[in-house]
Symmetry: D2
Subunit: 391 residues, 4 copies
């Protein structure tokens, strides 16, 4: 524990000195300056062992449990560049954990190793524009068996970081006649494969981004993938995805709490510095204070529950309803804190001069991606009602 | 820990078998039947060591820490009779803790002992109708020194359980010229003292109650109290009150979580049993399910934070802002769960045929007593803003 | 219009001088004093033509349109005794309008005339404890044809004002094999009929009430009703009920706006008079001011829409979705204003010393009776979606 | 009235056929295609008399009262290009009305005439980055008297449409020693004046825009303005601004209702077309339906109140509190409808493929510009409390 606390202090210095000064480039969409600068602080992070925290040491990590990673991830979340700086950004960290547990030695050598080293990036192709993203068992992308491999055809979107990624882990229907949960398989598709096309970086809330900071729309047209690139067995896709999504949602929650803390800091700083009369600042209004208190309560209650659920999972429990609970609770918390901070900032709050606009826009998706609020609420309610309907 | 889990199981049986069957009397205001029945289950509780949990063994308790008491108190909260059954009801438990730590041996003998034994009840006279209840340093009740004692004059209300109490701990101004926090003292005033008058049991939300289930309005008219009934020194009142109020608020939060869990159970039971068409119940509607999930999230997040704050206090921290946070968070949570449960119950929800009406009415005060939401939010915000204004 | 404005001024004086001074009896449940006093102010109202406003002059009314009645009803709503004072209280005014339009001359003579004269009271038996009250086509009460009349058997509740009523208009299934909307008929059942039993005045939110201020539970056991007491034809019940419920909901909305205005007055008066420091009142806090403004917006927007819908209905439109919209909007508005006013009142707000507790308790049902929010929302959404699904 | 209804039908056709097809250019930031296309539909609008609706006929308008303009403005609001198409966009329409009422004949000739003809655009420089935008009496921009004119120095931002505007109406302190409300004057500053610099088009929520679709930051450095460009007298600025802001806020409210209706259409269309299972769409969920109904109620109540306040103003009332009420009510309504529509759209909702993202981003400011919610609430509360504090 003391070790982690010490790490966190050093990590904080790293973020303040190396990472946060570059946020302005992201705000201004100045990717030409940002991308080489990020390469630099990623090198520093790697040399400082601020790298791949939950991965084994052989892959450059710290073997942190989900529970120990929680405060680290929260801290990284205070900058939109934090997770990427330490190579624990979605979807790469999720892909690394997936490959670590389920890939063949050959796959690990070819794909996990360079990914863990930060030499390449990856992406994950699951959601399809034609189907509600919340339902991972309904998909149209097909994988047909052929000699030595599979032929993939389909259409994916919201493939984060596809622009510049070396490979994409693609879910496709391998067993169309099976029960829904056993229909799909997972394939490692190099992005330079014939028939793999990045149609566009989808413009999200006014910004198509560049490189890692993108969400791609992808077309697979008779795209051949060799057998050696199938993860696990045909039909394993859904099981593997579940394995990947649970921790992924917890990672998001931790990151959102970090964002919320940074936003809270911005809110308070603005409140104490913005004069409304010569002798009064926004912080002197009890209406501002009520907002501060409500958001403090929101953040602290959310964190307490996230840590509780994380501890249970670290202890071996599955906690599906628990994960769904924190997913919609934390996303709601985040959007409320951000919205209040914008309001306190007045006109400045809607400009791209602060990070508030960035999060207001790019985290509105938090209530949608990895399952919209509505779906997670149904999961929680189903579990709750089971207590009263068991025979 | 295992010991506590075992206790909790037995305690649950006790509540189900001895206590909950009598709730109907409370619902119907049938105090004539309720009061002797309660005497009976309190005897059982005492014999079963379900008694005075946080008190030392010499006073019939289990020496439970605040942290260990949390799940017990939550369980007791599932019945409006639960805390009283086990002699840990407000304000008596607060008075016991106060006397335990600050009373003289003589005072303990005369007042704490019979109170801990459940032979008498007590009350606490702080709030005054003429002053905002949230500010314990503004009060008009005066204590003037006289030979061998003090002469008290004043007006108190919301003195819970005054009807039938043996004594009242009264706050009164002993040192009017001191700084605000050192003006008042605390007196143990036997309710049969000359000049101590219970004006009325205040009718609260349609119900004046009886005995313990009352909130009294009290007049002190030249009421003599001997020196031996002063707790601590003149001017100690505010310090003693703070000591009493912090844990008191946590006790309320735990109890409210218990209520919320019982209400959630009622909500779900109603949802699965209420048919809206021959083949469909309320539980089949996703709008019902969304409510269930939102309340599950609310309760769990609130509990997680309450336990976190409690653990810190058990560990010696003062956590003033933390207590204020959970106070307004838990009260808000409670009222929302109750309100949703009423809505799901339809017409039945507004009748006195279920406990929902009882809590809807008698816990609306949760957002007011022991400091209204607004005051606690200011405490939290002040603490938050300090982070940014320290020199 | 000038006539109405003049009437409203006089009516206001009447309410202030004759009606409001008696509210304390209602607050204290002092029905023994209240009931004769009400007889007195009802006499005054009748003599002053503050009576039966929407009824024809031959029945003692003013022939007011729904639109003209709106501001009158709002004003009456400012006192919980207002509508009753002027004989326009639910369910009697609804029953009068029903009888006016659909009763035989003989029925009018026997039932409408004395009701309009205020000599008797009536009630309306529709909701059944066994079925969701929101669905008027599902009911178990049966009416079997027999010589010269019908035999009624069934169980009703939430029969407002049954205690002391001279007759009850009962809905019962006359044509069980018909389509749902044509199954029931409406019967005028004298409450002294054999087989008509008032089981109890249901205790609602801590108060069973007396006389008009009650909600009864009723048992019909082989209760004979002569043919001459059937309103319209067998099977007309649902159609007649719809006719009655639409305006009834508008009446409620108007009344709720009146309550909200009175509550707003109480809120503001408390804010300006409650000192929190020697130089500051609650009204000096911007958090109080924000609440005041939000409730002013809520009330005014609600009233504007209620008047708009009412004008359309006065103009002949059916406005089913419009009525549903204002029903749930106004009920929500009311409960929010009341809740905020309680919070501003602090401890006093939960006592029965002010009307706030009365409305908090007795209008919680506003979101439930005459169709719960959830049902009205479905009506509105269905209408909205029709715009996009019409062939 | 029939005339207006007829106009509205034709106007709707114009919007559908000429304007809405070009919205995609705005979504994609394709200003190079948009700007010439807009010139075209503005020509059509002018020829069709869909132009300058509230202006006198001599300035190409229809002399519409504020009340008659309400439904027109709502309709225009259904497209982000609507108001601009008809030359009634902020700030130009506000500037036109200002010049119409307060400019000299010479000023009208030079500035109003070409503006009304749509030959030039204008902007309005009031808000300053150094001061809370909500307080028009605190400003640093100074105007010092010199021979034949004034020397302006200062810093303005959120100057909508400054990019490409021919002139800017600038507020600057002319009488620093006067009482606050009489300190500033208003100047017509040609944007090609020496010392008038457009520092940047502020990037707002990810988009700096171009031409009309911008918000500028402006520096005034020893900028000379001739006496003939002063509107009214020195010190009149605040009075003129109030005159301009009141109707401006109503215009915004009408436009927001139009946006809300378009968003509601998008929400419903998405709900009925998005399949969640082979036999079920989002519109089949009662949770979707509840959202639809709540937003229908929100929009309709808001519109009813906006029309009521507008009618009073058309009738000569000042309605300052009324305007503040609808300002914060409508902005809140708008943001809620947009947010719910995004949620219903899922992933698509956060992309720039629909207008939802545009409004989510560019109307977040609605709760801030022309006075933040908090300030308008204080105005409303002050007025409300006056009812109870008048001597």
């Amino acid at each position: 524990m003391n070790k982690i606390v010490a790490d966190i202090k050093e990590l904080k210095v790293f973020l303040e000195e190396e990472v946060k000064p570059l946020e302005a480039h992201l705000l201004n969409g100045n990717y030409d300056a940002l991308i080489p600068a990020m390469a630099n602080f990623r090198r520093v992070a790697r040399e400082s062992s601020f790298w791949n925290f939950p991965m084994p040491r052989e892959f450059g990590g710290q073997e942190m449990s989900l529970e120990d990673f929680a405060p680290v991830s929260e801290l990284l979340g205070t900058s939109p560049l934090g997770h990427f700086a330490c190579n624990v950004q979605a979807p790469d960290i999720g892909n690394m954990e997936l490959l670590l547990h389920f890939a063949t030695d050959d796959q690990k050598e070819r794909f996990l190793k360079p990914l863990a080293a930060g030499e390449i990036r990856s992406c994950f192709g699951m959601t399809e524009p034609e189907h509600a993203g919340s339902n991972p068992i309904i998909m149209s992308t097909s994988a047909k068996k052929t000699d030595g491999g599979w032929i993939l055809n389909g259409h994916k979107w919201f493939t984060t970081g596809a622009d510049g990624a070396a490979f994409c882990i693609v879910m496709a229907v391998t067993n169309p006649d099976e029960v829904p949960h056993k229909r799909a398989g997972m394939f490692i598709v190099p992005t330079d494969s014939d028939g793999f096309t990045l149609l566009r970086n989808i413009s999200i809330m006014g910004d198509a981004g560049m490189g890692y900071f993108t969400h791609g729309e992808i077309l697979l047209t008779d795209c051949f993938v060799p057998d050696s690139n199938l993860i696990g067995n045909p039909g394993d896709g859904f099981k593997l995805a579940q394995n990947r999504l649970g921790p992924g949602r917890i990672h998001h929650c931790m990151r959102w709490i970090g964002i919320a803390e940074r936003v809270m800091e911005m809110l308070c700083m603005q409140a104490i510095s913005r004069q409304i009369t010569p002798s009064k600042t926004l912080a002197d209004l009890d209406i501002t204070r009520a907002k501060i208190a409500e958001n403090r309560a929101r953040i602290d209650a959310c964190r307490a529950l996230v840590h509780q659920v994380t501890a249970k999972i670290s202890g071996g429990s599955t906690e599906r309803a628990g994960i769904s609970t924190i997913k919609f609770l934390a996303a709601d918390m985040l959007m409320k804190v951000v919205d209040d901070a914008i309001q306190i900032h007045g006109g400045l709050g809607v400009t791209d001069d602060t990070l508030l606009s960035f999060w207001y826009r790019h985290e509105r998706g938090s209530r949608i991606y990895d399952g919209p609020d509505e779906v997670h609420k149904l999961v929680v309610a189903k579990e709750e009602l089971k207590k009263y309907t068991a025979s």
